[in-house]
Symmetry: C3
Subunit: 304 residues, 3 copies
């Protein structure tokens, strides 16, 4: 017990000393656990029957939907209120926060039908773009992409309303599950598809057109963040025009970099300049060195 | 309450309008939750004592195994039946589905001893191939690879029997946990090992020989999927012959691409053509530009 | 029932035949579930108020901390004892294991204040290095990096004490959640930051200086592991000096490879040789082939 007391005292002293990584006596932050549960419920509302344990019949769907919305609306409003209290948008008076939280919640839920229409185009794009998909049901039930893009489109709505923390908690939940990091700030067109997802990163200020197909490991990133916090708000990530396909592992950087419509970017390419519409970008195969291991002069510096 | 009613009505209207992303009144789909639980139980059967909370003694193993199989067999049969009802294989009459589900379940479980023998070669390959592994126990308990390859080998059996959805639900569960996407369709030889796993993708029609070692971020993918659903069933992914090693981030595309036996593929290489046996493929180091930041003429377009 | 009996007998026979992947009658291994729960509790101790459901007030923090430590200390000691029994460090007598487990547990928990001080520099580096971060709270609550680096710094302490299995179970838990594989053995300086994390791998013998920034998909790996278990303990992974930035997808291999202080490594670069301090390494843009799809002579071997 003496040991516990000493360890406790040392930690308490450290809480006082190494500040900035405690959250004591502060404003209540939105809860990761609650935001995660809300996100799961929103997935059920957007794809009825897919994420439920039992089959839903049309005759029950109205009652089920009303019940789900009823349980969800108050909880979501609470979390949004906490986010507004934590970081109050300019021009919003303290006394109006509760009212604003209610308004934003209803607006957000009112957008679900519109989000569903866009998600329908994403499911179609996934089906059209992947011969390994046997059915749209297979896509919705098993493709990580659906979860990731749904969460991004939901989080984007809250991002546009300047709700702090919740969009990032939502998108990092999807990131952890799918390996794909779609920032809530990114503007993404219709008929979007990312195959496999793992390692793909789309930055905060990226703009993506319609009918864009990415593979895993694609980065739409910033050229340099040496400017740090001074770059906040500035467009730092690329623009991808309509009907572009980007193969696995390609890295495209910079806020002024535009990949022209209809272009195809080969795998593992590193791009920091704009590309004309209808281009095909690959590394030149001649630069690749293919050596026989049987040749004793092979002076390559790794063992085999 | 009025708000909830309006939101409900709008969503219900959207369910009618944006079709294809609802699953109402349909056939009961296999449950993600149940398939996940089954997969965990199968891992316990394949590696007895490793994924159990308490130590198992030889004297108890028969009783434990029988109990686990007994609880598992009916549940698995139910999920397989749902999959067969959802997508009935050609030539299977509706009235025979229940019988077929039972037959497939028993066959599948009967294959577990054979799968164990192959998994034993994978564990051996991991131990031989990674100096960071202190013991085989460490590999089985902590390496994501073991989970991923076990699930792939299990899902592959169901894939070969044309069971819909379940193999992909299983493999996407492993994908989410390990970051590696091994399609249930891929044919993978013995003594396989993937170090680190994250971002590695092996496509549906890939063929991998024996003693192949991959690293994370390796893609065995399709050259183009512009043909979309018309390419279903066609060999679209590469063949990797025996004793090939592929370093992190290499992307190898195309159904006719063959990496010859005994070859080594360097990191970040992008390959769309076959490579002779015993080759070493790297990008030529001379193409790399190394500049001093002290040189004011450095005309490279990114800040540091 | 007959079916279950036959399946059971076949599996039991396989347990006898395919050895090395059973853990029967062996020493009790540390429990994945318990080590995971411990890791979550340690996160709560290191960042008080961030991973708790309710807001913590300064007036309660001492009681809360003591309670958490009190519940944690015995469990951690049990797991460390199991690890020491499983793989007893040279020179430790069997009879001294219980005492050693207690000693290591207290030492480990006594290091938490020091670890907090280093983590504070990591949070600062993340905030300074990412314009997308609106606040340090956002970083601690939502960035996968914080979880990954915290777990690595904790696991590193146990690694240094030769505690088997537990460090890898901890780091693979973080790997599964964040997609980043930071080996417990790596020596990592202060003010470290990895943006996005997914796919980044840092090997067991890597050494990383202060103020180093990595992106996702970066590999600090071994040149060759063909030597297998004979390479155990040898330095196989690179050294990254102070103030180096490494862009997404770069692969750096080899135990003698040193990236000199102040250097910047471009995206997707593959490096197996040392680089002088203050260098900028990129592939030469001229080697990139940009073709117009309108040009019928485009002899590139993939369809678009």
């Amino acid at each position: 017990m003496e040991t516990v007391t000493k360890l406790t005292n040392d930690l308490i002293a450290s809480y006082a000393k190494a500040g900035g990584i405690n959250h004591l006596d502060g404003k209540n932050l939105p809860s990761k656990r609650v935001v995660t549960a809300l996100t799961c419920d929103l997935l059920r509302l957007l794809f009825p029957g897919f994420f439920d344990e039992k089959l839903i019949h049309s005759s029950e769907i109205k009652v089920e939907t009303a019940a789900l919305l009823d349980s969800l609306i108050g909880t979501l409003e609470d979390e949004i209120r906490k986010a507004l209290e934590y970081q109050t948008p300019a021009g919003l008076a303290k006394k109006d926060i509760t009212h604003e939280a209610h308004k934003l919640t209803v607006e957000f839920l009112g957008n679900l039908p519109r989000i569903r229409e866009v998600l329908q185009t994403d499911v179609q794009a996934a089906f059209d773009g992947d011969p390994a998909a046997a059915s749209k049901e297979e896509i919705i039930v098993s493709y990580p992409f659906i979860e990731a893009i749904t969460v991004q489109r939901l989080a984007h709505e809250l991002y546009l309303k300047n709700v702090a923390l919740i969009p990032r908690i939502m998108s990092e939940w999807a990131h952890a599950r799918t390996g794909m990091d779609l920032h809530p700030g990114a503007r993404i067109g219709t008929h979007f598809f990312v195959d496999h997802c793992t390692g793909t990163v789309v930055g905060e200020t990226a703009i993506i057109g319609n009918h864009v197909k990415l593979y895993h490991g694609v980065t739409l990133g910033a050229k340099s963040t040496a400017g740090g916090q001074q770059l906040r708000g500035k467009k730092r990530h690329p623009t991808i025009e309509d009907r572009v396909t980007i193969y696995p592992g390609a890295t495209i950087l910079g806020g002024e970099t535009i990949i022209g419509a209809g272009s195809t970017i080969g795998g593992n390419v590193f791009i920091m300049d704009s590309v004309q519409p209808n281009s095909l970008v690959v590394y030149d195969g001649l630069d690749m060195r293919v050596l026989s291991k049987n040749d004793k002069n092979t002076a390559v510096d790794f063992q085999i």
